[in-house]
Every structure is written in C-alpha cells, then in structure tokens.
Point group: C2
Chain length 268, copies 2
DNA sequence: TTGCATAGTCTTATATTTTGGACTATGTTC
DNA sequence: GAACATAGTCCAAAATATAAGACTATGCAA
C-alpha cells in the first residue's frame, strides 16, 4: 500500500508493536535456560522486554500445563515437571542421546578428565551433558552453555556434511566472531568443516582460551550424519602419551555410540 | 450484552471457531507424549482436530526452536533436543526429582520388584520414572502414563494436604470414575486423602486390577508438602514376609528422599 | 495513618494470528 | 502419461489475542 517493500517489512523486521504468543513462550524458555535457575515472575516482563499482562497470562497457562512451575510467595518461575517428562520422552526415542550421556559418565570416571556431550542448535553448540574431571581446574562447561560453532572442534564436525551456503545460512551474526573478536572467514571455516568430514577425531588447541585444548569425536546417526559429538576438554599441557591414550579412547567411544547400520548406509 | 452469562460463555466453553496458538502447542505436546513416539506431520492436524495451516506453521516454529524435531522424508514429528535440555534443567533445579529417579533404580535392582516415581498433574498421577522388576509379569507402568488419582495409593498421598474443595476443583470429569466405571464419592475420597496425611506408607490392594497391589510412600519437599511418591507395584500374592520387608525398604527410601528441613518447617 | 514501592489483576481496542480453502508439489497406480 | 492420492504452501478475511494502562493488593517505612 505504502511502497515497494511493504510485504518484506511485514515478515520479521524490527520489533513489531505486537509479538506472537508462541514466540514469547520460546523466548521465555530460552531466558530461563540462560539464567540457569528460577526467576521472579514480576521480573520476567522486564527481562523479556514484554508487556506485563502478556507474560502473566502466558506463564499462568504454561504453569497450568506443567511446563513451568511457580514457587514460593515471590512467584519464582522455572521449568516444570511436564518439561522434564517430555525431555525424557525425547531421550527414549533417541537411543543415541541416552547412550551418549552414559558414555560421558563412563569416560570421565575412567580417565578423570572432563568429558562432554554436545549437539548443535542453529549456529551454536550446546552442551547437553558434561561431567567434570578430577583435576582441580574447572573448565567452563556447564550443561546448557552455548558456544559459537567456529570456536570448537565439535562445531566443525557437526557442520561437516554441509555446503558453504548451508553453513553460511546457519551462522547468526553473533556466531561469526572468534573469542578474541576477530571475524570468522566463512570460506575458510567451511573448508575446515568439510575437511573434518569422516574424520574419527578433531582437535583444537587453545582455541577458546590458552589453557585448554579439546578433543572431539563425531556421533553419527543411522544415516551417517553427525548428530552429536563427544569430547574431552583438557589442559594444554597434558603429557603426549596420555593425550594419545585419551584420543584412542574417544575414538573407540565414538564408534560404539555411532549407529552405522550398513543396511541404511545409502538410505538418506 | 446478550444475557446473563455472556462473561462465563466467553471463558472456555465449547470449541470456539479459533483456538490460541499456545493452547494448540500444549495439545500438540500432550498428543506426542500420549503417542509415545514420532507422528507424521500430515497426520497431526487430524489427530489434534486442528487446521492444517495452523499446525504446519506452529510445528515449523517449534522445530526451528529445537523443541520438536522433524525427521525423514515423511516428516515424523517428535520432541527435540531443546526439550530435553529444558527438562534436564528442571532436574538440576529439583534435587528431589533427580534423587527420586536414582532411588527407583536402586530399589528395583535391590528387590527385583517394579518400582516407580510418580508426580501429580491436575487430577492424575504421572509416572515419571519406572523400572520393571525381574518378575515375568509386566505391569502397565510405562513412563508418562497417567492414572486418575482416586485409583491409586499415590494419589491419596499427593492430595493429603488439600481440603475437600481443593480436591474437588482438581479432579476433572474423567477422574471421577473408578476403573470399573463406578463414580467416585468425593467426600469419602477426600477423607481418605486426609487420613493419609503424614502416613509413612499407603497401600492399595487390587484397586486398579485384581492381580496387583501397590505400596506408596510420600516424598516431601522442604515445606513438608508431598511433591511425589515412590512406589512398588507388586503381584497380589507376594508372601507376607517379603511384603513387610518391601514396606520397610520403601519407608526408608521415602525418608532418605524427603527434605524435612527443621528450619523451614513452619515457613510455608 | 499516610506515603511509597512492588506485585498482580482486569478491561478494552487494535494489530495480527488463525483459519478455510484454493493452490502447488510429489509420488503412485494403471 | 493421465488420473489420483497424499503432502505441503500460500492467501485474504474474520475473530481474537496481545498490549496499554488503569486499577487493586500487599508490604514496608516513617
């Protein structure tokens, strides 16, 4: 009506005067996850930059459904029992994830090193299970923490089957800078991803910080796609021999987890 | 405007011409949970009695957010990785639930009997973790299955702190009939609930069917409220001595799980 | 008690989501 | 290849959810 781009504007640009309930809900979940613990209901509208009436309405609906819980006289909000139940259902339907979690526990116990199980969500890797090693050094690997894919070995594995265009479309603006702020060269990064295709193990040394290195191995589904990675996070100065042993152990773990059904090898 | 009950009608009666996105999402989750596994996307509008366009739209949004996953060329829909992550966050914030799950595993291993961990959701109990016993008999205790509260010992415990009015408001129409179809006497049921208050153990024999009995013990939070129950599901003919031993074990487990902080005894 | 701050409820209008249904795409059968 | 079945996309209109903000409730301080 008013110009050339009226349709385009309509899609998703600029924060519109009103936002969809579902979108608000997704942001709410994401926010709670980021916080890592209960948040006061009265604080949520501010945190989400959303109207009070909307948030009170939605939270009540979600709490009624058991996806959220409201606790105490100051109405602390956090995930609810149904969220847990649905999450459990996911695990039951995805054998690979359930076994990955267990494997992390086994590896950490066996080796004493910090072990993680990671998946991809959009342009980031998400740690869905982790077990700290017995070393004093505490490496920041909280469950749920998100790291841009270009920062990690895991990230390269999880993108290894994708084209440059796909990779480019997946990375958000905030995923295109390295920890030191320097921009990611997408072409080079995509090449690294593709180079890691079918590799049993990828290592990055000092990429996130100067004190740690990471060993990552792919966990593939029945179609041969990398669904997750299993990793060790190690201090930079691990003795060479120990490192070699850890690498071998990780590759073995990866192989045990991966579902490489020969029959479905050419199904995808 | 048009009569006495216009406000009341506006609230939730009759399926309105349109339904809210959030409500559709909740029904979708519930439906997937009930199915217990992936459902074809094209089938969902029919299953949910919802318009195609709406479901396709919502599913895409939820899949993009990682709460659902779309798999294969026939677009199988099921819960996604983020659902699992959020569910895990719930567990981390609710120590009691995490320990309850572990305890079920311990009890089942130790005794060889079917053990369950249950919570309440509206007028039903929901099994959030279960471990089948070593007996041949398979009792229907799938994780996620829902049973009306009046059918179980657990149900009585979980309502034990409530008044008749509260109990009445919680039970939906479908929760007011026993397995044999006979209606529940709410007054009598509420009395039974209140009688189970502070009981370390409640038993029901042959209530759901004639072949099983159930032992249930309360798991209370820091405020002394019953947040969950831990149970044994046994065949009707367990030797008396064995039964006594199981009862004792369950009470012990219940005590270990329950958080009865003396300091917060009068906080609620 | 008054005044102030924080929390939560309720109402009404408008901006937008939901919806029906037409349309396209894909695959299967004859 | 035509006819059909199934799956998925797109559009414009109507119905209603979101949002703004007034309002009430609660708690605390002076």
């Amino acid at each position: 009506m008013d110009g050339t781009a009226s349709r385009a504007l309509k899609t998703r640009i600029a924060r519109r005067p009103r936002e969809r309930g579902v979108d608000r809900v997704l942001k709410l979940f994401s926010c709670l996850q980021a916080k890592g613990g209960p948040v006061r209901l009265a604080e949520l509208p501010h945190m989400l930059d959303a109207p009070k009436s909307t948030i009170y309405d939605l939270v009540n609906i979600l709490a009624e459904a058991g996806l959220l819980e409201i606790r105490g006289k100051d109405s602390q909000i956090y995930f609810g029992k149904m969220m847990h139940l649905y999450g459990t259902s996911y695990l039951q339907a995805n054998e690979i994830m359930a076994r990955g979690r267990e494997m992390v526990d086994v590896l950490a116990r066996e080796t004493g090193e910090t072990s993680e199980f990671c998946i991809r969500h959009r342009g980031k890797q998400v740690i869905i299970h982790a077990r700290p090693g017995s070393r004093p050094l505490r490496i920041s690997s909280e469950i749920g923490s998100r790291i841009p894919l270009p920062w990690t070995a895991s990230g390269r594995l999880m993108l290894s089957h994708m084209s440059l265009a796909e990779i480019d479309s997946i990375l958000g603006p905030e995923d295109r800078a390295m920890p030191d702020g320097s921009p990611v060269d997408i072409g080079k990064f995509a090449a690294e991803c593709q180079a890691s295709r079918n590799m049993p193990l990828v290592k990055t040394v000092g990429m996130i910080n100067n004190f740690t290195q990471c060993l990552a191995a792919p966990v593939t589904n029945a179609y041969g796609l990398v669904e997750a990675t299993i990793c060790f996070v190690l201090p930079i100065d691990v003795p060479a021999e120990k490192k070699r042993a850890l690498e071998a152990r990780l590759v073995k773990a990866s192989g045990e987890l991966s579902l490489m059904n020969t029959e479905s090898g050419q199904a995808g």
